[in-house]
Symmetry: C3
Subunit: 439 residues, 3 copies
């Protein structure tokens, strides 16, 4: 679609080479020879000049009309279209993750199997320069539960972005980072405290060395229209990146998330063993009733140094109940990854994004990108009268990115100990694999 | 993608300016000077002529091949592609409506909250000139219920269009008008009598001053395959627009809709207070059993005069029952809107469509389009043994269209009185807001 | 998007016609006349040469940049985009099938009606040359059940294709052939033994005269995460086409499909009367419990000779039970079709694909393609303690393809006899019609 440039090149280079130089040279020679008189010479020069002016005008017109042109891209896999002036764009993208898992069960049956973990399509883009939109659906879910992002944003203010609709609360680094780009197949155990998506409104600001976001949130998209008040929430996240270079990063973040439960006064925290096929929750508070409000706090630390990456978070949750004592649960994890093939984990606007292999698989004997990783995580869901259990898990993983849009992962997870809850004393292990295409 | 024109311009303008005029002038001069002999002159003229003929041939070829070209458009937000000859087209579009509502409850709890009201994507277009198609899905629904339009149409006959598949029965102006373009966030109370979509076949004709449509309809798309006969229906609508200019309209319409209930002999009419988040039905007949057939009649009146618009409908429904007496319910509404910023409500083929702000927000200090509106509506669902209740509602609204693809609405609705039914004597009020992107 | 060719044509044809031939002729004349000296003549020739060289360089650049260009196509209805170098492509396509059926019931009520049989959209394409992907969803289903194809394939090996994700087991010619392209609206009765789609991995090889595929399969996509092991399967299919020309084909195939039931030990075979609206299963084993494993075998025979096509399959299924005797069920069908308008059924990679009418409807009085067909099929679901019933059905059909993307079908099916099962002795008949758009 870069026609404008070539047409203009064609245009401005060709005329001198055609109507221009040789003819002009000949005319000058004939004038010098006296074959062409002074008066004739002047007429010929005028004619050449006016021809060139005409062509310039035409070139201008071509350039103007060209600004209307749509530019198409497929180079990251999804279909992208954009007007040359940036006023409009639309992108169709998606992801499919196909998983299989084998469990080394320990007293409780877990169930080997396979599943489509996520199958999403989205359309996103911008309209009239400043307005962004996105609608993303996950076809592995049913009905409204499948609606992931469904929002509108306004980016016409300097440094400030306004977002309204259905999107993620600004909380938890490993949740902010897309499931396409997490180092392990499943997020670490403390994701039991994830704030998820709500209908809401958010003000955010993203800079090279810091980001800030605060939002006010209403219902979950799956809330029933049952005449009940499903409460409201508020949340904020602040991240600093004192070092943020191409292959070097230090990231720290803090976030808080508050939720008033309204008339729907129950809450439940649960977590599988960093796997999603079994369906067995290793730790699980069960339904906690009579809940007034929730407060969640999180602290984030992450770093990148060349092929090495590090990420850790601590999460704390307080449950305030109507008549019983407050509950407190917490968890944390620490993980490290290393790209054998030398790539660096990419970071943008307070979260991690995807990588591009240095040598794509298949091109001149390239092997794609290879990453190894290890993680330790812990989650404590036991407090007062609630015996949800406490668990630690250790995981190692390997990721192969043959090209930027593909990823194959293998994870081994070992639950080190479950203390309390329905699975007290169990120590299951598991191996799981994933194939992912995403763009 | 308007390259053809520019290439041809380039082509037809450039040669004279290049090979043409100056060289020809020189040759003529040299001929006049006697430097070039008569015979040489003729040879040169012939050569110039044959060169021009070659170029014309080439231009023709370029033009022919160009007719194959796909034209892309993003200027209304959605991605549109069209072959230059109009033989094929495809468009991907959608809408998201995010709502929040606060209720001033009156004895019955209604439940403040927020929701994604609609989240739709569609693909539509035409094939081989005459065949149109559309598939639209609403992701806030589950399974088949989410399929909105799914039809094929044939437009190869003069003035007559044939449509087969799943689409709206031709009934009710406020239903024919897309939810993207209704003046208020929710349709007026008599939408309880909406005929909805069915699988069917329709013959229609649309002209500047009138439209007519008649159709034969089968099952609802959600009908279960339970070995039962789910009945059939028929319907027609006739609209006249004696005045139909850009900013002036008078529209009258009548419509009838018949439904034989087959083996599924129940029906229910219900209506929320022109809101959709609460889930509480202010009036509700409950399930009426032993129903043989339904007949619905509607009368429409609408007008536009510059920024002012008016719309009113009366709906009447008769329920014929197996052994009990026939029931009759009815309702009507009247509404008016005014564009403070001077736009006019757009009308096309017997229904209202979207507007384009005169001064888009953000361009040279534009404010977008602003509209204010008021509506009074009433619905009576009480007759004989059925005590569904009667209600009146008054609503005022404000709409802001910063650009053509966006709309933000605020509505205040006051139920003036509920007479009978489960909410007898209640007079709830509510405020609701919506953000919408649609293309 | 074929601009490169035209620009280059423009380029290489134009210069000689402009700066080139006439001017050169004039210069030569003037040199011959002695008006231009030898030295001047040489300078002029050099200048023309260097101008031509410049233009050639420019043309090369244009050609290089042009290789980046995206090519768009709509000529089969769906939107296709492809990079000029073939590295990336994306296609958006879909199908809608709208059906209606009328039953000549025989003691059991069946329920006339209409439905959207399928409403699918897909996105497919390739990335980085060798990797293919597809995600297809059927909106008439709910949640995961709607996910049809969701896979990734690798085609970088010679003659070998690797596929991983969710796709059809390689079994049964009439299942391998897309529902868009089956001769009758519904597949023949033995489709009760279809192997359906699973999560799995397959190695396949397709050649002009043979295809082979073997795969290992895990869960169905709808398997619940209930801590149970949902078993695994394996299957293979081998097809030979000793004659495979444009209008002549002989196809034979054999296939085997094994399924270990894991912890989910039940299976059920059932079949409607080659219709899908009624929901009444003419033959039905009911749920067979205590099942360890299943083995299915199939033999295929098909032929095309000009407008005539023939297709037949025999299917046999063995059910191995924990404590009871093994069960054996089987079925077969034979069908023939004839294109009155002379088209030939298309065959590719071991299955049938779509046809293109010789004379599209509407173009110069074309009638589209018309096909008539007849089929006899039988299915026996009675063995040992299982009395599912045995049934034969005879069907005739007519298909009209006005253009390649559209199809209208009418089928008459007569169940010749039901022997055993819940519908013992019944002989219902039915008429059903379908409108289909697909691309």
């Amino acid at each position: 679609m870069k026609f404008r440039i070539f047409l203009l090149l064609l245009f401005f280079l060709s005329p001198p080479a055609q109507a221009g130089s040789e003819l002009l040279t000949l005319i000058k020679m004939l004038h010098a020879n006296g074959t062409v008189s002074d008066e004739q010479y002047q007429r010929l020069l005028d004619e050449i000049k006016s021809g060139a002016a005409q062509q310039e005008q035409l070139a201008q017109k071509v350039a103007e009309k060209e600004a209307d042109t749509i530019k198409l891209k497929l180079n990251k896999g999804g279909l992208q279209a954009k007007t040359s002036d940036g006023q409009f764009s639309a992108k169709i993208g998606g992801r499919v993750q196909a998983d299989a898992a084998w469990y080394n069960e320990d007293s409780s049956e877990m169930g080997n199997g396979s599943k489509i973990r996520r199958a999403r399509l989205y359309i996103s883009g911008n309209m009239f320069y400043d307005w962004g939109y996105k609608l993303q659906y996950d076809f592995t879910s049913t009905g409204k539960a499948g609606i992931k992002d469904a929002y509108l944003s306004y980016n016409g203010l300097e440094h400030i972005s306004l977002t309204g609709g259905h999107f993620k609360d600004p909380f938890l680094l490993q949740e902010q980072t897309s499931s396409k780009h997490t180092t392990f197949m499943e997020r670490a155990m403390p994701s039991a405290f994830a704030a998820d998506r709500h209908l809401g409104f958010m003000v955010s600001s993203a800079h090279k060395h810091w980001t800030a976001a605060v939002g006010l949130f209403g219902n979950k998209i799956t809330a029933k229209n049952d005449g009940k008040d499903h409460g409201w929430g508020a949340g904020g996240r602040l991240t600093l990146a004192p070092i943020n270079e191409k292959t070097k990063l230090i990231h720290v973040g803090i976030a808080a998330n508050y939720r008033n439960k309204g008339d729907s006064e129950s809450v439940r925290f649960k977590q599988q063993a960093e796997t999603n096929i079994s369906g067995v929750n290793t730790v699980d508070t069960g339904t906690i009733t009579g809940v007034n409000q929730l407060l969640k706090l999180g602290a984030e630390l992450a770093a990148v140094h060349g092929p090495f990456s590090f990420q850790s978070e601590y999460l704390w949750t307080q449950v305030e109940r109507e008549s019983l004592e407050d509950l407190e649960f917490d968890g944390w994890y620490v993980q490290a990854g290393y790209f054998i093939t030398g790539e660096s984990r990419k970071y943008k606007k307070g979260k991690f994004s995807g990588i591009k292999p240095k040598n794509a698989f298949g091109n001149n004997g390239g092997y794609g990108a290879w990453q190894i990783a290890a993680r330790y995580s812990t989650l404590d869901l036991t407090d007062k009268d609630i015996n949800g259990g406490e668990a630690q898990a250790f995981a190692v993983g390997i990721n192969w990115f043959p090209v930027s849009t593909l990823r194959f992962s293998g994870n081994y997870v070992k639950v080190l100990d479950v203390d309390g809850g329905a699975h007290d004393g169990e120590e299951p292990g598991l191996i799981q694999i994933r194939g992912q295409w995403a763009f």
